[in-house]
Structure formats: structure tokens, C-alpha cells
């Protein structure tokens, strides 16, 4: 790897041992990628505060300095962690205080995380505490080099905002936060941003449920590649693309895609493919749509629903409002819980707008900071859950060993009210 003079100085310790350790990790990582150089970034989204068994042990051993060194820098030395060099935010993490008495989640972990927030906040980490930083104030500009984790945020950052990030990890974002550097590889290079597959949509895709299913289809089809979506798609909104990207990054590893005429790097179909010819298209029609729905609903048989989860990725304010309308004047089944996971900044808006009150009057809860998958926690005794998120339906059965139903927000709310799954494709 070729390092610039400032990067060499950081590696050699001019900025202290933590920055040197960060640069060492970036060089090891860059060499693993066979990458030639680093690029500058002033936008890091990573994770430091999320509790884990390993972190609990490290904090006991040497405090948060030790935890950051080992987990966020892959460094075994006892070093002091300085202020962040560039703007850095904390993504989603564990449940916090508002989950007490609702979520079976240990008070010790909540306290550990509070402690972490205080430590990292003092060093300049903004505690956004959401998988959707783009919903609450971190909105990169087209062309901006970022170092983001969270696959659903990464794909949103690249495809919808036209900023440039790879799918970074805990250690690479930790190193970026102390150096303002990240390997200039993959999505940072313009030649790696053109489409590779063409998908022709032959069924109306006009709601986030449909966008989620299309995303799940596309991710399975292209895996790590870059799909270009055309056909019977309506004008998508933030929520639609939030669900499309999250699903495509679950069934596959999609980090970037184009919708000609909609997304910023694809003014036309030809532009989406750049120097390459437009390939033969793969069709997404009624049969493919049905197969995806059945696939997402193949992880359960009992229609008795204990738990309904909305808001993955973290709900938009519109989704909270839509859930409030669906729940208005109704009461949840006594054996079923409904959680909507949201960024805390949007919870404040929901509280102020009265949506929280409507949802809670029905028996539902808004929870911030986390989700059942991140915190490995669902209502005690849950055997069957329902969700409007393809991503959560993909992951939660593996993480918690429970069955899953996937359907529309309204089908999920009906399941919460009746305790039975009666959803279906319309």
C-alpha cells in the first residue's frame, strides 16, 4: 500500500499510539483487500456502545479504553483513546432505558451501554443510535467518501444519496474515526459503481411491502453485484427504498444499485451501466413475486402469533403514523405484543404528535435504539412472530429460534389485535 506523508506519520506514532494502532489496522485491512491507497473521510458511522459478552469481559479488564482498542482497533496494547478525529456516529445498539419492564433484557447491559455512551460521547461520538442515520441528521452528499457500517444504511448511502461507502465493519470504522482514512477500494472507485444486472419488474411495486419483496428477490439474484431496476415501479419514497435495500442486503450483499430516472447516478438506463452494454434482463413477475412471498413465509406453521415487530430498518415517522392509524381504537390480543422500533429522535416527534399515545392505548410500544435481532430479545415465551420487514423475517428465526410470518403493516397489526396470522398477498 502506498501511504501519504500524513498517513506514514500517523502509522509511526506522531499522533499517539491509538492513531498508530488505527493506521496499522487500516494497512492490514487494505493489504487484505489488495488495495493501493487510503482515501479521506469525514463521515464515519460505526458501533462502539453495543454490549456483547466479549465487550463486557474487556470493560471489566481495562475499561472502555481496552474495549475500543481490542474491538474497534484490533489492538492488544493498553492505549488511551483520544477524541474522534472526524465526525462519527453510533449506529443502532442494544435496548436502552425505555425498554425496561417491556423487553426481557438485562438491566446490567442497559447500564453498561449508558456508561459507554458517556465515554464515547465525551470523545465526540454522536449517539444517533439507529440503523437509519440518514433519517435523523446524517445525510451525506453525492460523491462524499464515507465509512459506514450497517448493510441497510450502506446501500441507502450509495444508491439513493450517491455518496460512497463500502460495507465497513466495527474495526475499520473505529480506525477511520481516529484517522479520517479508509481504504480507497470497491465502491469508492467510480469504475466499480456501474450496474451489472438488469431486472425488469412486471408487477406493480408501489408500497414498502412490495419493495421489500422485490429487494429480497434481487439480492438473492445478484448477491454482491449491482442491480439496475426498471419496469412497473411507481415513484418510490424513502420508506420503500429503506425496505428494498435492507432486503437486498439480507438475501444477498447488495451495496449499490440504480433505478434509472430516480437514483442520482443513473439519469438513464445506459448511464446506469456506464461503458458496458445493457445486459439481458431478468424478469420479476407474478410468479417470482409469489415465490418470494412463500419463501419469506416458509419459516412457520402455527398461525398463533405471540409477537409483532414493525420498524426494521427503524421506522420512519410516516410508518409510525400509519401504525397509529391502523391501531386507533383497537386493543391488542391479550397474548400478543406489538413493538415498533424507531430512532429516538423520531420517537420524540411521535410523542409530540400523539402517535405514541394512540399506539400505547392499543397496547403497543415504541422502543428506541435497538431491535429484537440486535439485542437478541423478544417477549418471553415467543414462538411465532410477524413482521413487515423482509430483513427481520430473514434474520430473527436464526437469532432467536422462532417462527416468522411476513406481510403488510396492516396484516401485522391485525395479527397483533386478533392473535392470529391471516395475512396474504393481494
Amino acid at each position: 500500500m502506498k501511504l501519504t506523508d500524513d498517513e506514514k506519520a500517523m502509522r509511526d506514532g506522531a499522533e499517539g499510539p491509538a492513531v498508530a494502532a488505527a493506521m496499522d489496522l487500516l494497512v492490514r485491512y487494505g493489504e487484505a483487500l489488495d488495495c493501493e491507497r487510503l482515501c479521506d473521510t469525514r463521515n464515519v458511522a460505526g458501533t462502539m456502545t453495543q454490549p456483547s459478552p466479549a465487550k463486557t469481559r474487556l470493560v471489566k479488564e481495562g475499561g472502555w479504553h481496552k474495549a475500543f482498542a481490542v474491538i474497534n482497533l484490533d489492538c492488544d496494547e493498553d492505549i488511551e483513546i483520544p477524541d474522534m478525529r472526524v465526525p462519527t456516529c453510533q449506529l443502532q445498539h442494544g435496548f436502552s432505558g425505555d425498554a425496561e419492564g417491556v423487553v426481557p433484557y438485562s438491566k446490567e447491559l442497559i447500564e453498561l451501554q449508558d456508561d459507554a455512551e458517556a465515554f464515547y460521547g465525551r470523545r465526540g461520538v454522536s449517539i444517533l443510535a439507529t440503523c437509519t442515520p440518514y433519517q435523523v441528521g446524517n445525510l451525506p452528499v453525492r460523491g462524499e467518501h464515507c465509512a459506514w457500517m450497517e448493510s441497510s444504511a450502506v446501500v441507502y448511502c450509495n444508491a439513493i444519496l450517491g455518496a460512497r461507502t463500502n460495507c465497513e465493519g466495527t474495526a475499520s470504522t473505529g480506525a477511520a474515526s481516529l484517522t479520517g482514512k479508509i481504504p480507497c477500494w470497491g465502491n469508492h472507485l467510480p469504475e466499480n459503481r456501474y450496474g451489472t444486472h438488469l431486472v425488469d419488474v412486471g408487477v406493480p411495486v408501489d408500497d414498502f411491502l412490495e419493495w421489500g419483496m422485490l429487494g429480497y428477490f434481487v439480492g438473492d439474484l445478484v448477491q454482491e453485484d449491482r442491480p439496475v431496476i426498471t419496469g412497473e415501479i411507481g415513484q418510490p419514497e424513502l420508506v420503500d427504498l429503506k425496505h428494498f435495500g435492507a432486503a437486498a442486503a439480507s438475501s444477498g450483499g447488495v451495496e449499490h444499485y440504480h433505478i434509472p430516472g430516480i437514483t442520482p447516478e443513473a439519469p438513464s438506463l445506459e448511464a446506469a451501466f456506464g461503458p458496458q452494454p445493457v445486459p439481458e434482463s431478468v424478469h420479476y413477475g407474478p410468479a417470482q413475486r409469489l415465490a418470494i412471498y412463500e419463501d419469506l413465509n416458509s419459516q412457520g406453521s402455527s398461525t398463533d402469533v405471540d409477537f409483532v415487530l414493525l420498524g426494521c430498518p427503524h421506522a420512519s415517522i410516516e410508518q409510525i403514523w400509519r401504525a397509529a392509524k391502523a391501531l386507533d381504537g383497537r386493543t391488542l390480543n391479550s397474548g400478543t405484543q406489538l413493538w415498533i422500533v424507531v430512532p429516538r429522535a423520531l420517537k420524540a416527534v411521535a410523542d409530540r404528535s400523539g402517535y405514541t399515545e394512540t399506539i400505547e392505548r392499543a397496547g403497543g410500544r415504541l422502543l428506541t435504539d435497538s431491535c429484537p435481532a440486535m439485542s437478541r430479545a423478544a417477549p418471553t415465551g415467543t414462538k411465532v412472530f410477524a413482521t413487515d420487514s423482509a430483513k427481520q423475517a430473514h434474520y430473527l428465526p436464526a437469532i432467536l429460534g422462532i417462527d416468522a410470518w411476513f406481510g403488510s403493516l396492516e396484516d401485522c397489526v391485525n395479527a397483533a389485535v386478533t392473535g392470529r396470522w391471516t395475512g396474504g398477498l393481494r
Binding site: A32, A171, A373
Partner: protein, 138 residues
């Protein structure tokens, strides 16, 4: 019978051990339990199998950006694989191999490592030279 494949270094080091082969990509977060070193994705071909002390041979990483963090956690819990051989380079798998601190080699798909190597074969990785030697178990 000994077979040889030639790849490129991802993480340097020499290691040998028994292969565990996955023809499907592997999820880190939501796909493995680092405390036990077990693949937990329900519909995965290796669901329930332990990778601790094995040379993990697989196409690459998929899913969440927690991939590297989860494999790092397996190192911290003492349940990590012994080495990694994969065919598709991504940031997830590159960083994952680095923080798992195990010898790792990228072998081109054209050499068909997922077909050439079978679970149970004895595999030696010399990552610096990119050489993978395979002693077939049958």
C-alpha cells in the same frame, strides 16, 4: 493424493487442519454464534455445525456489516476457525479475516476450491505464498 491450489495472501501465516466446506456464502451477524463457534442460519447447508479449529472453505461473506465483528468475537471466545479459504473478495470477509487473525487465502473461482476441497480433507495454507495443499480424506 495431494492437490495444490494457488491463491493470493489475505492474511499471512501458515496453518494446517481439517477442512469444513460451505458451498453457500456465510452470514456473520445473525448467521453464527461466536460463543459456540456454530453456524446458526436455519436454512444454511452447515446449520448447526461447528467451525472451531477447522479451515473454513467458503465462497465469501454475505449479509450484515457485523460479519467481521462476529468472527472477531469468535477469536475472543476461543471458537475461531483455524484458517480461511474463500473465492470472492469483499470488505466484510477481508476485515473479518484480519480481525480473526487467522491465515487466509483468496483462491480464484476458476480453480474450483469449493469442489476440489471436501469437508474432512486435510488442508495446509501457506498464505504468504498463496499455496493451499490438500490431502483428500478418501
Amino acid at each position: 493424493m495431494t492437490l495444490v491450489l494457488h491463491g493470493r495472501k489475505v492474511v499471512p501465516g501458515v496453518v494446517e487442519g481439517e477442512a469444513l466446506v460451505s458451498h453457500e456464502t456465510i452470514s456473520g451477524w445473525g448467521g453464527i454464534d461466536p460463543e459456540r463457534g456454530v453456524i446458526t442460519e436455519r436454512r444454511h447447508e452447515l446449520a448447526g455445525q461447528c467451525f472451531t479449529g477447522k479451515i473454513l472453505v467458503f465462497p465469501g461473506a454475505k449479509g450484515s456489516s457485523g460479519w467481521s465483528g462476529f468472527f472477531q468475537a469468535s477469536r475472543l471466545a476461543g471458537t475461531a476457525p483455524l484458517g480461511m479459504i474463500f473465492t470472492a473478495m469483499t470488505t466484510k470477509v477481508a476485515l473479518g479475516a484480519v480481525v480473526t487473525r487467522v491465515p487466509a487465502v483468496l483462491v480464484p473461482t476458476e480453480q474450483h476450491p469449493l469442489d476440489v476441497i471436501s469437508t474432512g480433507d486435510w488442508v495446509r495454507i501457506d498464505a504468504a505464498s498463496g499455496v493451499v495443499e490438500i490431502k483428500k480424506s478418501d
